[in-house]
């Protein structure tokens, strides 16, 4: 079904109103040579019942967190979210609306996005946040541009312990705009403030450090950003995990000027990597250079408190080539999901999730290192994710666990992780969803495969 609604006599009536005989006349302006007369070579239309079958059939060929305990992380986490989120977000009034340009017809979306912005600002300990970007990786790139645009400097220092895909995207985005990336080398899986100090100069616009980093290690934001700030105006850019903000020091409390993240853990499904959402929060001084949509609070003519899109003169539709970013369509619905999630849980709920993840991850790590030959790859503190070095081939470990119905984690080696390692490290994530039973079963499998 193509979802059109006109019958033949209505079409005739409409053609008559226009004053033509056939629809083809409306397409006469298209030169004959380029018309697609033979029709498109596509499969014939499917009815809704056939679609349901075809979609269910394709879905049945996939295995994932729905039928295996999932210990995979590295930027996408199998967190719990309450059932009400799927229900509320399906409301057509949210789902089928456009960007809220018309404040008088869109107060629902606008208020929800304003609440989202405030929640993200509070979660990060910063002043403001925008209404979402595409994903974590592009948010990092926008943060780098925000820092370089405000300082007009041409270099960013980037922790080599950041998610390799974020580094890859940053390289793509900065490659043609004359901004250099200097990678900071790690010492035992984290960036030492001394390494930041060594690389600082007055050409540096920002220092980007992710914590917990790709290995799961908690970085010393305080120390790194203190070094960054020794050069005035250099931005400390933290890449954070929103759930970790429930129990660990927030970016703002560690001296970050800008904070960006993958927002998926806040109530969004794994979705094979998208749609997710990029979070971007910053100190107030960045307000007029922020990329993306911003919702502001104002009054209507009768004095009511209302909301509208604001500072649009930063944006592409007004400013064109001089806009702060090219982003137009963002991840509004994902932001609304995140906001519903934060509203349902509050700080207490997010803290509970974070704390349970912490205890479970530490329980599992402790159990694994009891096994012969298994050890933690790094010595520093971690949150809900940690890296172990397998005593045998990591691919064998992963395959063995999967054949026993468990997704044991992400192997650090290989193309998928952009060549992060060539060794036998396995990066294991533990959310509040994992049970002791599942963890004990994983430990048993690891023991068996390495015996």
């Amino acid at each position: 079904m193509d979802y059109t609604q006109l019958n033949t006599s209505q079409r005739q009536e409409m053609l008559a109103t226009i004053g033509i005989q056939s629809i083809d006349e409306l397409f006469n302006v298209i030169p004959a040579e380029i018309r697609c007369e033979k029709g498109l070579d596509l499969m014939p239309a499917l009815s809704e019942l056939e679609l349901q079958r075809a979609l269910a059939e394709m879905a049945s060929h996939n295995h994932g967190a729905h039928d295996m305990p999932c210990f995979m992380g590295c930027g996408a986490y199998d967190h719990f979210y309450p059932a009400l989120i799927d229900q509320l977000i399906s409301r057509g009034e949210f789902l089928t609306s456009y960007t809220p340009y018309q404040a008088e017809a869109s107060q629902g979306s606008l208020q929800a996005f304003f609440e989202f912005q405030t929640q993200i600002a509070r979660l990060t300990g910063l002043d403001i946040a925008n209404a979402s970007l595409y994903d974590g990786a592009t948010a990092v790139a926008e943060a780098a541009l925000l820092a370089t645009n405000t300082t007009r400097r041409k270099e960013v220092l980037v922790a080599s312990t950041m998610h390799p895909e974020y580094i890859a995207v940053l390289r793509t985005v900065l490659s043609d705009v004359n901004i250099a990336i200097t990678l900071l080398e790690a010492t035992d899986g984290t960036i030492s403030p001394a390494t930041v100090a060594l690389n600082m100069s007055d050409a540096v616009a920002g220092v980007i450090v992710q914590s917990p980093n790709i290995w799961g290690q908690i970085e010393d934001w305080d120390g790194c950003f203190a070094e960054a700030h020794k050069v005035p105006k250099t931005a400390g850019i933290s890449v954070f995990n929103p759930i970790a903000c429930g129990m660990l020091k927030t970016p703002g409390s560690c001296g970050a000027d800008i904070a960006v993240a993958e927002g998926q853990p806040l109530g969004n499904a794994l979705n094979l990597g998208g749609p997710y959402l990029g979070l971007l929060a910053a100190k107030e001084s960045y307000t007029r250079k922020m990329p993306g949509r911003l919702v502001g609070m104002t009054k209507d003519e009768d004095g009511r408190r209302v909301f509208c899109l604001t500072l649009q003169t930063r944006e592409q539709h007004i400013r064109g080539a001089k806009a702060t970013s090219n982003v137009c369509t963002n991840q509004g619905l994902m932001a609304m999901r995140a906001s519903m999630f934060m509203t349902t849980l509050g700080s207490d709920g997010i803290k509970e999730m974070a704390t349970q993840s912490w205890h479970k991850a530490h329980y599992l790590a402790n159990e694994i290192v009891k096994l012969e030959g298994w050890k933690l790859t790094h010595g520093g503190p971690f949150f809900n994710e940690f890296t172990v070095t397998c005593p045998c081939d990591v691919t064998k470990v992963v395959d063995f666990c999967k054949s026993n119905g468990v997704l044991p984690g992400v192997a650090a080696a290989g193309r998928r992780m952009q060549g992060l390692s060539s060794g036998n490290e396995l990066i294991i994530a533990v959310t509040e969803k994992r049970t002791k039973h599942e963890m004990d079963a994983l430990v048993a499998l690891l023991q068996e495969v390495s015996a």
């Binding site: 499917l46 394709m58 949210f94 008088e104 903000c245 990597g273 749609p275 592409q316 064109g320």
Partner: protein, 498 residues
């Protein structure tokens, strides 16, 4: 006047302002509970401990009430006529939502091995090939997250192609003066400078195009970004000549595919000389706009540009299995994390599969028919610079009106659009591509009754401007709120609740 003011207040009195979640906080209350911890605790070292404590919470019923109240304050395609030009606000079929939510799609981790996600990769591969066929181009990348991101990605691809061919001088991109703002903004993100090409009567001014090329030097130009049908809702009948002019100097023709809804199954961009283009699946292929996103912006390119597409690319192996190619030697690299807006692409696949080839052609025909019907019924009261059916001048899937006759009577364009809100119609796109215009795009999924009601509303507003102009000037009178003070909002921005 006073009576009107009073009326305004009264009609809104029954919908009180919805408090912010921050004003509803109940200490100790929460919307959901958790199982008890089933492992021993591990102490959190002081140097890392902290955490945000200021997010409000309250009981579950009130969470439902909050968002239900907010949803009640939103126009949507489901509930309203939403003729927002260039945005293609068509019906969003729910089978697509159903499919995307299947656990076998929604619960897949993006770093899983290919063997476990064959069904998902098949869907991506089929989407890729269907979009290649619809574009008439060699290869599609599903990576970009939205239209603007597609522009950025494709411009990067073109740049990489030229760099690889030793033509690093090509740093200028041409764009029409009616181009969407993302076109020039994407150029800047790619380190290209933008030169504007004039349009006349909604079409590219060929002589100006040639002039600009001569002035800049063909060897310095990488691409001309064109929107076709144009943002004025007109098919550019000179498109082949434009393609020739651009190709003659070795540059590429980029199609902003935002208006593909007018072309589906009728014209394939590759057949008129486009070298690269983006789709907006959230326009053409009915994936919901979601209050601003998510979208997705797949790009299609010619064979010579294909080696530079971003990684990963979904491929079919000789044995019929599917895999992700992450090793393209000449690729521009990654443009986003993981493998694209998968959930959006599920919906896109479902929509194209539901339509089939004939359905897609009927989509574009009906979209164009609906727009011309509206234009024909409205053009007397709402003058349209490019619409003249008696002389064979039709619009494509959308049209532009500049209601100068009404504005001359003492209303502004904003007045007209705010009055539309009173009648339950979402205002069309305003002031783009020209000043004081409305850009109306009904889409193919509207019924004749809906189109006729819209005409009634527009004619009624035109009458009101003659008979009771205050009604229009003071509108909206019936909406949830009176006009928002956007000037104050921008002067002293309040972006977070304190």
């Amino acid at each position: 006047m006073t009576t009107l003011k009073t009326m305004k207040k009264q009609s809104r009195g029954d919908k009180p302002t919805e408090p912010l979640v921050f004003e509803k906080h109940v200490a100790g209350a929460i919307g959901v509970d958790f199982p008890p911890l089933d492992v021993s605790e591990t102490k959190v070292p002081e140097e890392v401990a902290g955490g945000c404590t200021t997010l409000p919470s309250f009981g579950q019923h009130d969470v439902m009430a909050h968002y239900t109240h907010l949803s009640d304050r939103n126009f949507s395609v489901d509930g309203n006529f939403y003729p927002l030009g260039s945005c293609t606000m068509k019906h969003n079929p729910r089978i697509n939502e159903w499919g995307a939510a299947l656990p076998g799609f929604a619960c897949l981790h993006p770093l899983q091995d290919e063997e476990e996600i064959q069904g998902a990769l098949r869907l991506l591969y089929e989407t890729r090939t269907m979009l290649e066929e619809i574009a008439g181009l060699h290869e599609v990348s599903l990576q970009p997250a939205a239209g603007a991101h597609g522009e950025f990605t494709a411009l990067k691809v073109i740049r990489a192609y030229f760099a690889d061919h030793g033509q690093t001088n090509r740093t200028v991109v041409l764009a029409a003066d009616t181009a969407h703002g993302t076109n020039p903004a994407s150029c800047t993100m790619c380190g290209a400078s933008v030169e504007t090409v004039r349009t006349v009567n909604g079409q590219t001014d060929l002589s100006h195009l040639k002039e600009v090329i001569a002035r800049i030097g063909g060897g310095n130009i990488s691409a001309f970004m064109i929107t076709n049908p144009s943002t004025a809702g007109l098919f550019d009948s000179n498109i082949q000549e434009i393609a020739d002019i651009v190709h003659e100097v070795g540059a590429k023709l980029y199609l902003d595919g935002a208006n593909m809804n007018a072309l589906l199954g009728r014209v394939r961009p590759g057949d008129f000389g486009a070298d690269a283009m983006h789709y907006n699946t959230h326009k053409t292929f009915s994936t919901p706009h979601g209050g601003g996103g998510p979208g997705s912006g797949p790009i299609a390119v010619t064979e010579e540009l294909a080696p530079y597409l971003p990684v990963p690319q979904v491929m079919m192996a000789d044995d019929g299995s599917f895999y992700l190619d992450r090793e393209r030697e000449k690729s521009i690299g990654k443009v986003r994390s993981f493998i694209g807006q998968f959930g959006v692409l599920v919906r896109c696949w479902a929509y194209i599969s539901a339509c089939g080839p004939n359905g897609l052609r009927n989509v574009s025909e009906t979209a164009v028919l609906n727009a011309n019907y509206l234009a024909a019924r409205l053009c007397e009261k709402y003058p349209m610079p490019f619409f003249d059916p008696k002389n064979g001048k039709f619009c494509a899937h959308e049209f532009v009106t500049v209601p100068q006759n009404l504005l001359d009577k003492g209303v502004t364009l904003i007045d007209i659009t705010k009055r539309m809100i009173d009648y339950g119609v979402h205002p069309p796109t305003m002031h783009w591509p020209m000043h004081d215009c409305l850009m109306v795009e009904p889409t193919e999924t509207e019924s004749k009754q809906a189109l006729d009601s819209f005409v009634d509303v527009m004619l009624q507003i035109a009458d009101e401007i003659s008979s009771e102009i205050e009604l229009v000037q003071q509108s909206p009178l019936e909406s949830d709120i009176a006009r928002a003070d956007e000037v104050a909002a921008a002067r002293k921005p309040i972006l977070a609740f304190k």
